[in-house]
Point group: C2
Chain length 329, copies 2
């Protein structure tokens, strides 16, 4: 495969530009691709000057404006034509980059991507999909925040797109698709899930029915569909849960010298587990349903998350997910 | 305070009648009240025969039918007039009991309670409220499953009722009320939370605004309102999370003899923590907004959960929560 070009928004997210630029430089070590860093060029250059790296593999594209997290998405995208986000999305539209990654304002990224890059035919709303850890490997949860209010048909489209993604990225044929719900029986749930259940029954997907929230961590399904409100709540609750739990465990252990020693003896065995439970979405969440790849990196992304998001772009492009979704829809 | 009478559905829940009857007998040790055991009298008598207890404090009321978990609530309540649930609710309506506890079909219990006992004036929909563990003591989450689809006005009513409950049961004046949401800014969320936010701003409650799911475990608010779908998802996800995590930790520790020893040294310090994280809702969830007290015990309630639910009834009645909610609404 030819070298691909990935554009990265260096101005979006809590740790921009420092951690974003750092992550880009680190990512150069693990792949062959070319990165286009988008944002205020003098700031990016200054950050880059701290590192030694292959100058042929990093390009800078200047963009003077920045879209803040609290800006109204539609207004921001319309008014800030020279923002790092709009400039980055245009690079993809014009074929100068194969993908765009941003840790900035999610709503603005969705609006911008939909307007500039456009939706795949048959997709009413693009959604954000993310792999979450479970006891037996990752499940794909979607939508995790692009569409707070959904129609039943959206959930069916999410399911089709999620199955394509899971099958290709995780290498599992005919993945199990479930609706996140509050009961197993098909008459359980809210209006949305009840109607979506009936529609999903009619598809050729490996639809396992309702997936109770209690069973998500037991890997009850490979692809879990829900509206973006519920998905985001699940994702963020899980994230907060893990952090709180580790704080609580640490606090409890520090109360006695015996347990402090005990904890030291456990560290090695638990290390892998702690890593596998990382809910902070280190690989970013791709928007599924767009004509090209756009990845939302976590707002609090550090350099490690940027490396993860870049690596996710590679697999996504290699596996030709966009075209496979187009065929499916 | 006079002895109160609490009616208990002995036929509802995964572990009925064994664990329910056992819990009733155990509960006699911790309080002075009288329990009315509702269900097939011969089955209840047989279960009771295994224990020695004060026969003056347990009454049996016969009810021949049982409402199953998968029955359609409205149909079940209308047709099964002689079910343990309908008979138990009628005991409360007729003043023969002050409260009714059931681990059976949630929807049927809500429907039955609304029809037989009735709503408090000003309450459009009763809701289920439950205390969930956080890093700094419990938060009250509501609705956790009575109303999968809600209007903004319901959430405002939940907030008022929850504040009364929290203030009286937890003894904290002017509790902090938040909406479970996917962003802090008031324009974030779905249609429901955005509208509810505007309505809650106008109340005299100590409204702190949106509570992000990520911060729930950090005790961001005392009372957390949401629709019954989201609340149930949170509750069940938290419950499943804790179970999965303990399984994973156990599995990781068992991989080496060193960590096994380490874990033994930690056990004592972690014991309290494990207990405090019990998401299985041991005290049951009261319906708030009804003219009398009805408590939904967890479907998988064991005897300990029954004891918890009975003890919750006592505090609820002692603090006169129903009348305090009536005054407030």
């Amino acid at each position: 495969m030819d070298k691909i070009k990935i554009a990265v928004d260096c101005m979006g997210g809590d740790n921009a530009p420092g951690e974003i630029v750092k992550g880009c430089v680190e990512a150069l070590k693990t792949h062959e691709d070319i990165l286009i860093l988008v944002g205020r060029s003098e700031i990016i250059s200054k950050e880059l000057s701290a590192y030694s790296y292959d100058k042929n593999r990093i390009e800078i594209v200047d963009a003077r404006e920045v879209i803040a997290t609290d800006e109204v998405p539609t207004v921001a995208i319309r008014k800030k034509k020279n923002s790092s986000m709009v400039v980055g999305l245009n690079l993809v539209k014009e074929g100068k980059a194969s993908a765009f990654i941003s840790a900035g304002n999610t709503g603005a990224l969705l609006t911008g991507a939909t307007v500039i890059i456009g939706r795949i035919k048959g997709v009413e709303r693009p959604c954000l999909a993310t792999l979450i850890p479970t006891e037996k490997g990752p499940s794909l949860l979607m939508d995790v925040g692009a569409n707070a209010d959904c129609k039943p048909s959206y959930l069916v489209q999410f399911a089709h797109m999620g199955a394509v993604y899971y099958e290709n990225i995780m290498g599992k044929e005919n993945p199990r698709v479930g609706i996140v719900n509050i009961g197993l029986e098909e008459e359980k749930g809210n209006q949305l899930t009840k109607e979506a259940h009936q529609l999903l029954k009619e598809t050729d997907l490996n639809f396992i029915g309702n997936a109770e929230a209690r069973d998500i961590m037991s890997n009850v399904a490979d692809v879990l569909v829900c509206d973006g409100f519920v998905g985001n709540i699940l994702l963020k609750f899980g994230e907060g849960f893990v952090s709180s739990l580790f704080r609580l465990i640490k606090g409890a252990i520090m109360t006695s010298i015996v347990s402090k020693i005990g904890a030291l003896l456990c560290v090695k065995s638990l290390k892998g587990l702690v890593k596998s439970l990382d809910y902070s979405n280190v690989n970013g969440a791709p928007f599924l349903g767009l004509n090209s790849l756009v990845v939302k990196a976590h707002g609090s992304s550090d350099s490690r998350a940027v490396v993860g998001a870049i690596s996710q772009c590679r697999s996504f492009i290699e596996k030709d997910i966009v075209n496979k979704i187009k065929e499916k829809m």
